[in-house]
Amino acid sequence: MNFPWHHDAAPIPEDLSSDLHAAYAIPVPDLAFDLRAASGATLPLPAHQRFTLRRVAFATGGVVAAAAALLLTPVIFGGGAKAVSAEQIINRAQQAAFSNVTSNGKPYHLVATTDVFQKGFASRTETWSLDPAHTRTEETVDSNGIFGTSQDGTDFWLYTNAPAGLRVVHVANVPPGSLSPGSGVPSFADFLSQETIKDCHFRSLEGTQTVAGREAYVVRLDPDASNCPDSMREQFVAQGGATQGSTRIWIDAETSIALRMEQVASDGTRGYHYEVSKFEVGAAIDPSVFTYRPPAGATVIEMPNAVYAIRVLAVLTGGEDLSFKSGPPPPPNTKTPTPDANAKP
């Protein structure tokens, strides 16, 4: 079974260079430079206004952009509706994925399947989201292993039933906004962000299709070595001299939630496929969904913060051992809940 934490313990690299490159791999927004403001004596526009400006057509760049716009005719949607670029769509999708909230702020319930063909495993994911502080995601791997995270505005839970019984990590009284996206938990948002790194991919908009009954933009990503940092080139552009294949992402036009993602290697081999089969936007969600109740017999580890939660869970499930060299988090407090608790919402 391939659980997220079942891989070799991440060693501290002798050379921090690649980690430092990754730490500073900051996505660059599509910022326009206001030449009129630059040419005149006026101050630059506030950011929220500038983001709405069309990119200024510079000499050669303007001609090329115009030609690109003609070639990218599918960019124009909805019978004269405003144009949307692949760049904007990807950026919105990343924001939605990381915040677990749709771009129009509506709650949602989602069911998806993932196939990782190269590693031979499949999973089913169910997500409930009310707002950034009320989310729950439960992934069932290879039909029987469960890995879930839940937060109800104050408490955070991380739980799994594999490989030796239910293990739960609980963080109480999480200050609002203190849980950064992911919080040590691998997510589709992480995958989306790393597969869409601007400098390592050409992004193009291919049109729209219907997925799970919803209109979705289809964005294609192709490896691009021209600006990709050396430290990432091997990972995203070419491996062993072979150019990596393309990725397509289908992104819901209304909410910016990714509905499908498919990676195909340069030789046509399928690598990864994510597909949403059920997507309810504006769904009424019972708030109790977000409060996880460990069942009787589960081992519950109380942690002071979520940073180490995934690592503690890894130890509990046999993925690796822990050895805090210095400055460890306070020792976890293990307890067993009362027998009448419920496991699932």
Partner: protein
């Protein structure tokens, strides 16, 4: 389609900043080439030093505006356009930091730690620890790392930005990364 656009954008070779500056002096719209070429590095550097992505966006606009207006004062052969631009960026970031309490919100920035979701958990945690260690470094060392890893400048270019020799920058970078490595090792939970 996107490829064609990218080729046209990259038609001017990397070392031709001075040519572009000359063009921009004659035709302000040519400044767009310089903007597109240097926007990613400038934004990343400023985002590493700003309090929020919004502030980084505002500072980026401010820096290019300053550069555009000061283009007549730029002189070839004084270290290159990039160091000149980053001196403006560094001053802007320093001025901005004086107006608020120091804060480097690297934790809020999206990164790409590993090739697939099932392999990302520990890598994410490792990066969070690394960012935490970076935040604990003195400001000048954080600046040095941002110039190297966010802006992608060479030691020579960094030297031109901060007024030090190339060899001095190399030594400082080595020491900074070494101290970071020691701190990083101490803070992270290690496998036995």
């Amino acid at each position: 389609m996107a490829h064609a656009f990218a080729l046209a954008e990259g038609a001017v070779a990397e070392g031709d900043d001075d040519l572009l500056v000359s063009s921009a002096r004659q035709d302000p719209e040519a400044f767009g080439h310089l903007y597109r070429r240097h926007l990613p590095a400038v934004y990343r550097y400023l985002a590493a030093r700003a309090a929020s992505p919004e502030e980084a966006a505002d500072l980026t606009q401010h820096v290019f505006l300053q550069a555009f207006r000061a283009l007549e004062r730029y002189r070839d052969g004084t270290g290159g356009f990039a160091p000149w631009l980053f001196r403006i960026a560094r001053n802007a970031a320093t001025d901005a930091s004086r107006r608020r309490r120091p804060s480097v919100p690297l934790d809020e920035l999206v990164v790409a730690p590993s090739p697939s979701p099932e392999e990302s958990a520990l890598a994410l945690e490792r990066l969070r620890q690394l960012r935490s260690a970076i935040r604990q470094l003195p400001g000048p060392k954080q600046d040095l790392l941002a110039l190297r890893f966010a802006a992608g400048l060479s030691s020579r270019e960094i030297g031109a930005v901060i007024g030090k020799s190339e060899s001095s920058v190399k030594k400082q970078l080595t020491r900074t990364i070494q101290s970071l490595k020691e701190h990083y090792r101490d803070e992270l939970p290690l496998a036995p």
